[in-house]
């Protein structure tokens, strides 16, 4: 224990004094309960420590090896988007009173976090049109998976239907969670880029716990939630919608279209892409399902003096109280990212959230017509939000490699997860992309096309 390190404040004299208080001669004596036979000897075979400057430099060099959306114009979406991140978001989440705290178990000294989460829950309710929302889930995919197991538990049925137009990776996660609970997952095929309602009619039955769809769906199309909700409820199932909350600035909220549960990812609101995580799942439902909800909930109450305050509430649902009878095993959630999303939602506000959602649709509509003018086949004629499917008639990997040379991160290669859509690309156009960038992209793709 001779090492000096800036994170370890004890001096040699501190250590000696403490050892003598404890009544041992060496620190090693404190580890005597570890069986001699397995005690680790020698040094861990890991890299030696680096100084702050040297490590920063090394990691900056590794970061520079990656193509980032600040340097390149990105048209890649597929569940993770390059949106406007108000600069204040990072200032707020950098306040260490927030990021160095943990779950607000002591409300008297955690009112800041608790109130911020209460506000987050309110904003999610406003956007989704649902009665209640929790304090966050890991991400949109696991939130959808928890919704899948929750509807099965609630209805005591053993089958869930999920549309093929739901994000393929989210569908995989739904399947993994369902396997744990022995729930059958059946995929509803897509037709013309949306859930095939005839197939849904065929597949749904009295053992269907719920129907899971995405809004807008993976292809950017707007699903007929009203109809799917009616079909689900007719059979006594619960209707689960995975919604991009930013799109809800202009789209009718799922709560008005029959959803029992709305989940999704708040990443579009101020959260960096960060190679896929951490993002911020949200989970909202009708009041009826309140006691079945996974995760933490913050509620309003009063103190002895009658002052308004906030606490973690309805904890009888949770693992630390109910153990094996809990509604979910979730403990740590995504609180700091829920805070980030709250700041972004606040900055955008009532007017800005409409404006940003509108710009996404308008720019995507422009991109669609630009592709069509250039002779590309843009698939699916339904209403879209900020993504379109373009038939490039060439391997997307090759096209994207050429685009990268020209300063673009190209769209998602749909052939990777939808074999019938090989040579088709999913192009995302957010408010961040300018008309010039869109025109240039189409031009470059035309060039590779030729």
């Amino acid at each position: 224990m001779k090492l000096k390190h800036r994170y370890i404040p004890m001096t040699d004299s501190d250590r000696d004094e403490m050892l003598s208080t404890i009544g041992v001669a060496t620190v090693d004596e404190l580890f005597e309960d570890i069986p001699e036979k397995v005690r680790f000897k020698g040094e861990l075979n890991i890299k030696k420590a680096k100084s702050e400057s040297a490590l920063t430099k090394e990691l900056a060099q590794l970061a520079a090896k990656n193509a980032d959306a600040r340097t390149y114009a990105s048209f890649l979406g597929a569940g993770v988007y390059d949106h406007y991140k108000p600069i204040i978001v990072d200032h707020v989440i950098s306040r260490s009173e927030f990021y160095t705290a943990y779950t607000p178990y002591q409300p008297e000294i955690s009112q800041g976090e608790l109130q911020a989460i209460f506000e987050f829950q309110t904003m999610i309710c406003e956007l989704t049109g649902m009665d209640i929302a929790n304090s966050s889930m890991y991400d949109g995919g696991t939130a959808l998976a928890e919704a899948g197991t929750m509807v099965a538990g609630h209805t005591r049925r053993t089958k869930i239907l999920i549309s093929e137009t739901v994000h393929p990776e989210a569908r995989d996660v739904v399947l993994a969670y369902a396997t744990g609970q022995s729930i059958e997952v059946v995929t509803i095929p897509q037709k013309d880029g949306v859930t095939d309602l005839d197939q849904l009619g065929e597949l749904i039955d009295d053992n269907t716990a719920g129907v899971l769809v995405q809004y807008p769906n993976f292809f950017g199309q707007v699903e007929d939630l009203q109809k799917i909700g009616e079909m689900t409820h007719e059979k006594g199932g619960l209707f689960v919608v995975s919604a991009n909350p930013l799109a809800l600035g202009v789209l009718t909220p799922p709560g008005k279209l029959g959803a029992d549960i709305t989940v999704g990812d708040a990443q579009p609101f101020g959260i960096a892409e960060q190679f896929g995580g951490p993002h911020c799942g949200y989970f909202a439902s009708t009041k009826k399902l309140m006691r079945k909800m996974p995760g933490r909930l913050v509620g309003e109450t009063t103190d002895e003096a009658g002052r308004r305050g906030y606490v973690l509430t309805l904890q009888a649902r949770e693992q630390h109280i109910r153990r094996d009878k809990a509604t979910s095993n979730i403990c740590s959630n995504q609180a700091l990212n829920a805070l980030a999303a709250s700041v972004a939602m606040t900055a955008l506000g009532k007017v800005g959230v409409k404006e940003i959602a509108y710009q996404n649709i308008a720019k995507t509509a422009y991109a669609k017509s630009a592709f069509e003018k250039a002779g590309f086949d843009v698939k699916y004629n339904g209403a879209h939000f900020n993504e379109i499917v373009v038939d490039v008639k060439k391997p997307i990997k090759e096209v994207n490699a050429k685009l990268l040379e020209k300063g673009f991160i190209g769209g998602y290669d749909l052939g990777l997860t939808y074999p019938e859509l090989s040579n088709h690309v999913l192009i995302a156009v957010t408010e961040q992309r300018t008309k010039e960038e869109i025109d240039a992209l189409v031009q470059e793709m035309e060039a590779t096309h030729a």
Partner: protein
């Protein structure tokens, strides 16, 4: 902390104020009603706040002033490892080449990120003594579930689908039995003996050919090292079960003993605890899982591999449990953990553990005569006191925890583990100075004296916080989970 009530952001709204900056639309306007299907254009606006940028900064600054973090003061919350969160981690995570990269970019454009992931896996593998590591799980509980799903798939692949039981000590975190349930297992609880350790006889009586796994936290939640761990491994392996290591307390054993060497088959780590995540007010976390070669075929997809000096994700894994999370886990968090490990090095991690354990033992010995100490042996990185003696005088552990707030400390974890009456679980961590430990010890001793001499001051605590004790019963009986405008409340 400021005593005034902070209004909700919704109560600060004034129509016409904005806090955003969007560019002018540079493409033709569209008509939403002709673009979207009938009934799908939102009619009622989402009632988000209408405030200026300064309003937002003042609001959240006011909220932050009503919050206690590690940077505010000592935070000995047992089992949560509330150590200092290094600032280099925050700087690195914000490099554009890490923060602004998309998970579905071509692999050739993210080799720097993948190199770090690969190197981190190697480091965690060495620290835990496990053969292979996945970084996918988003948090500790998610890691538990992932590993249990792998164990389940392993048994099923061996034609042993009959193994439906997961054994969990009564001192375990609530996530253990909850994760077992979510993975489709039944939980069997194993008793703790008079030394605070797993009751071996109870374990022997309950393991059988239907045992899938035994989940053990070591050191356990009493802060005690399970010194019979090798015998436990033998018993569980003897009936064909798997040993699962809950890594919540890894801070106590780095470079001292490795889960893989103790006979564990699967391990999860809480990178937001031992490896300075940070905790974020409740998350995000990161919960990598390490396993033996035998369990490796069942790892979640994709697997990161290195081929000809290029990193690539491998998806062709027929026995995999599938995908547990979209993309590749919480990159932004494990990047911080990687930065921390590289800041500490092998001797640094060893020192972390030694000082974490030294600090806990020092505090325990200083406090043992003032409170009940149920287990007398040396502790590891944390220890549990009982408030039994004070309860007889009419003061509960909850009261003492609230009194600590008046001294500027975050209280320990209380009423956990469940097998200690009026428990207080104290984890100082290695990043605290002796002066801080001493001032906390002094506060605890003063509170113990107050219980004898002036119990009201403890029973009525806290006295200095922005708000007094809150009515939790009211919150649960009449749940108010969102803000509703006053006029809407009147109309409702």
């Amino acid at each position: 902390m400021h005593k005034d009530n902070q209004p909700l952001i919704f109560e600060m709204t004034k129509e016409g104020r904005i806090g955003y900056s969007l560019p002018e639309l540079d493409v033709p306007e569209i008509d939403l009603s002709s673009h979207l299907p009938n009934g799908y254009v939102r009619e009622e606006s989402a009632e988000l706040p209408e405030v200026s940028e300064l309003d937002i900064m003042r609001h959240y600054t006011a909220l932050s002033n009503r919050n206690h973090g590690v940077d505010t003061g000592f935070y000995p919350l047992g089992s949560c490892t509330m150590k200092y969160n290094p600032k280099i981690n925050e700087a690195v995570a914000r490099f554009p080449g890490f923060a602004n990269i998309h998970p579905l970019q071509d692999e050739s454009t993210v080799q720097g990120a993948m190199e770090i992931m690969y190197d981190l896996q190697q480091h965690l593998s060495e620290i835990t003594g496990m053969d292979e590591v996945t970084l996918q799980p988003a948090a500790g509980a998610h890691g538990e579930w992932t590993a249990l799903m792998m164990i389940r798939a392993f048994h099923e692949a061996n034609g042993e689908g009959n193994r439906t039981k997961v054994l969990v000590p009564d001192s375990a975190h609530g996530t253990n039995p909850a994760s077992a349930t979510v993975a489709g297992f039944d939980t069997v609880t194993i008793k703790t003996n008079e030394s605070g350790l797993v009751d071996i006889e109870d374990l022997r009586a309950k393991v059988d050919e239907n045992t899938a796994a035994f989940m053990l936290t070591n050191p356990n939640t009493l802060g005690l090292f399970e010194r019979d761990v090798l015998e436990i491994s033998e018993i569980v392996h003897g009936v064909g079960g798997k040993m699962y290591y809950d890594g919540a307390n890894l801070n106590a054993i780095m470079a001292k003993v490795r889960p893989g060497d103790m006979g564990f088959d699967a391990v999860h780590l809480n990178l937001h605890k031992t490896f300075t995540g940070p905790h974020g007010g409740g998350g995000p976390g990161s919960g990598p899982v390490g396993v033996t070669t035998e369990l490796a075929p069942f790892l979640p997809k994709p697997i990161l591999v290195k081929k000809d000096d290029q990193y690539t994700f491998e998806y062709d894994r027929p026995q995999s449990i599938g995908r547990v999370k979209p993309f590749y886990g919480n990159f932004g968090i494990y990047l911080r953990a990687y930065t921390y490990i590289r800041s500490m090095g092998p001797d640094g991690l060893k020192a972390v553990t030694e000082y974490a354990v030294l600090n806990a033992n020092y505090m325990m010995r200083k406090l043992e005569s003032y409170f009940d100490l149920p287990y007398k042996q040396h502790c590891m990185h944390e220890f549990v006191l009982s408030g039994r003696r004070q309860k007889k005088l009419g003061v509960r552990t909850l009261d003492m925890a609230k009194r600590l707030l008046d001294f500027g400390f975050h209280p320990p974890t209380i009423y956990f583990p469940l097998n200690v009456e009026e428990g207080m679980m104290i984890e100082p961590t290695e990043t605290e100075s002796k002066e801080t430990l001493d001032s906390f010890i002094d506060a605890m001793i003063q509170i113990a004296k107050e219980v004898d001499e002036n119990p009201e001051i403890v029973q009525e605590a806290p006295h200095t916080t922005v708000i007094n004790r809150l009515d939790e019963t009211k919150a649960a009986r009449q749940p108010v989970l969102r803000y509703v405008k006053e006029e809407e409340l009147v109309n409702a």
